[in-house]
Symmetry: C2
Subunit: 461 residues, 2 copies
């Protein structure tokens, strides 16, 4: 609990219009895309790195938690105030500072919404590839915190691959810059990539320097329907083996297709067991050639139907189906646990088989979709909290899922992070010396443990 005296001091640092501790204001800042709920003591809307620094000085002195928050679209609870404390809402860091067309570099404040930034760079014919499904809500700072991936990662990589440098405030109060504003740089330890994916536990990012690439001249979206999930993911392996690198290779299982079909009107052919959404982009001639080869592979692999719309708008419609999946699954049950495990691409068919068995064993609907090109599958375990025993069944299933993933040399998270939801399982993947080392790194940044406590680590550090 932050004392009244300290709340007053915070209000005076920020100005009363940028600070609140009124209960009704706090509620929305206690939850995120996990739908878990906690209650912060107050919310600050800082306007400058200097204000954040002053907040940290106070937090170290008075020992209250500070939880940075972008848009609250995180799927592992990274922005949740699990131990109460002060939410640092980064909304006011909302300026695109510079798009340097000559050097293909941009500087952006961390509260800028990713899609807004993307549109701005595309206006000058440039391209910022990372595109998490939450792109219209999530902020660049949140993307950095989680090392967000997205639909185009199979070709273009993830947030980490585009960030050159950061402006940040350390939990000890110092305002720092990391990395470079040039194409390359290796001076000192790579603080930039250490902060990327650190889930807001090491520093508060205020500015992001990213590299841009030329906007692809052309893109083509396709969709292939298959009888079985196994056939679908084997097609993915064959596309990759044939040296085509599509922009997107998205998988959706039968359960997902059922849910999406209703809302978007996908009209999947009868007998569809799974589908692939495929996109190629780049030079028009080359992309078309690749599209033809993708079609050949899909037909050889027994696709029930292959759609290759020539109009952009129809292509968008196919994407709509993919974007709609996550929300549409709530039709099946009011609650879900959404994981984003990764397995070796070549073992996806085996994994999908395992998943079907898991759903049968636990008599719960399970849906799988995601970035098949990366082996990054979003496994959704659906349940109804009000039905006794269903949450527990779901939780048992998650544990079995993770055991299988580790056995397959996979990882528990491809892009959502550990946060709160996966912290109890993190020891399945990270060894004791690795976790201890990470604990020492955390202490090197945040000796008093004030910044975003209760995340990543399975125990109090």
């Amino acid at each position: 609990m932050i004392s009244e005296r300290v709340l007053k001091e915070l209000a005076s640092v920020l100005g009363p219009e940028h600070f609140t501790s009124r209960c009704e204001d706090l509620i929305t800042f206690g939850t995120d895309a996990t739908k878990l709920r906690f209650m912060p003591d107050a919310v600050a809307f800082p306007g400058t790195p200097d204000e954040i620094s002053r907040i940290f000085q106070l937090a170290n002195q008075e020992r209250f938690p500070v939880i940075p928050r972008g848009a609250g679209s995180g799927k592992s609870g990274g922005a949740l105030p699990v131990e109460g404390g002060l939410i640092l809402a980064m909304d006011r860091f909302n300026r695109i500072l510079e798009i340097d067309e000559r050097n293909l570099i941009a500087r952006v404040e961390s509260g800028v919404i990713t899609a807004v930034f993307q549109e701005a760079v595309e206006k000058v014919d440039l391209f910022y590839p990372p595109d998490p499904a939450s792109i219209h809500i999530s902020t660049l700072g949140g993307n950095v915190a989680e090392c967000a991936g997205g639909l185009r990662a199979v070709k273009y990589g993830v947030t980490r691959d585009y960030v050159l440098g950061l402006g940040a405030v350390l939990p000890t109060g110092e305002i720092i810059r990391t990395g470079v504003v040039t194409a390359k740089g290796v001076v000192g330890y790579d603080l930039t990539r250490l902060l990327i994916g650190s889930e807001g536990t090491l520093a508060v990012v205020t500015e992001v320097v990213v590299r841009l690439i030329p906007k692809p001249a052309y893109r083509k979206t396709m969709m292939a329907f298959f009888e079985t999930a196994a056939a679908t993911v084997e097609t993915v392996s064959e596309i990759i083996r044939s040296r085509i690198v599509p922009t997107a290779l998205e998988f959706m299982d039968k359960t997902c297709i059922g849910c999406v079909d209703e809302s978007v009107g996908l009209s999947a052919p009868k007998g569809t067991g799974a589908l692939l959404l495929i996109e190629v982009d780049g030079d028009k001639g080359l992309a078309r050639k690749e599209a033809t080869r993708v079609e050949e592979i899909c037909s050889r692999r027994g696709a029930l139907e292959f759609r290759s719309p020539s109009r952009r708008k129809q292509g968008e419609k196919l994407w709509e189906a993919r974007r709609d999946v996550s929300e549409s699954l709530y039709k099946l049950r009011p609650d879900k646990i959404s994981e984003d495990i990764v397995v070796p691409r070549s073992r996806m068919a085996h994994f999908i088989g395992f998943l079907e068995g898991l759903a049968r064993t636990h008599t719960l609907p399970m849906a799988a979709y995601g970035h098949a090109g990366d082996g990054n599958i979003h496994v959704n375990i659906l349940f109804d909290e009000k039905i006794p025993g269903e949450r527990e069944k779901a939780q048992t299933a998650v544990k079995e899922l993770f055991l299988k993933v580790i056995e397959m040399k996979g990882t528990l998270s491809g892009e959502h992070g550990v946060g709160v939801t996966k912290a109890p399982f993190v020891e399945m993947e990270l060894s004791k010396p690795v976790l201890e080392l990470m604990g020492r790194l955390k202490k090197a940044f945040d000796p008093n443990g004030i910044l975003n406590p209760g995340k990543i680590f399975p125990y109090k550090i």
Copy 2:
């Protein structure tokens, strides 16, 4: 100094055939590509992570420095035993463990020579892009330590962009794995990228897991000669602005051309002030189209001559000129200081102008070549140690060079690292709180400071 008793103990850990403290054996392990000389106390050739762990236990107990060493081709002195101690020569970690064609992932021991690994993956039609100029000597472990870049970085990125995970031994003795063996992963802090570019000061890397890409089907090498350096780098900017992403965009100034011309027989046209080596690769049709556009841009920018050999062998000849530069500069003077600063691409012309002025002021030959596509210029300041005052003049010039680079918002090193040679200047680029934070990170890994001391930091930490 390591005592006789400890030397004996080390010999028994490693076996006498994998350990030496004989003076004549030690000499070559005291130097590297910087040509600086120090003397280690002993050299170990460990064969397993477990042996390295036991060495570290002993080193912590007896407090002697341990200096990991790949091929000793580093240009900033990262492998030099500046405080004596034990050289950990990684020669025996020389196996390619797996090339997984289905998942486009390879596992390699850190002592494998980069070119050997590249040839192995190219045999199965895959591609590992990072290609430092030292590729036929340097090891993957050394490339990881320095985050090596190379000639193709403008299109394909640097070592960091291909490493998925590492096997490593911490200076506290624990054997760890970092990262993933899948396409993606974000569980816990990014130890993989923290170790990359840490110049062997945080852990000893024993295994490297890398992602591979399909081997480009076609490549085309071209060379353009210009009257002035300014025209040359402006051409680079125009190529980049025109949305072409060449594989390589290498610059060489007049001094370099003069040196190379003799040895390789370049026959540069009269009046040449600088040249560009350009390569495009990928799909044959697209690469040819890009080559045509590159030629158009060069001719519009007033190229004196444009070479576009159709035979592979002639293309190789052009590359030979580029690879020969570094060594051929010794014709001018017996000694040189070789820097690898980066400036914003758009300001290269300004920078080259500055450099010409610097050479005049200090009356020393200076040569510039390098990765113009990244703004990463290798500045060579030539001198003769035996001529009184020349080394001092060269050192003064380095300082002025660095001041200019920082003023231009550049960085002191694009790919060589800080090591010993740039440590005295690192405070020009890194702020006090950043260096202090890096010091705390170093302590979190290596509380007793036994691993590769005297590197990166400008003071004893």
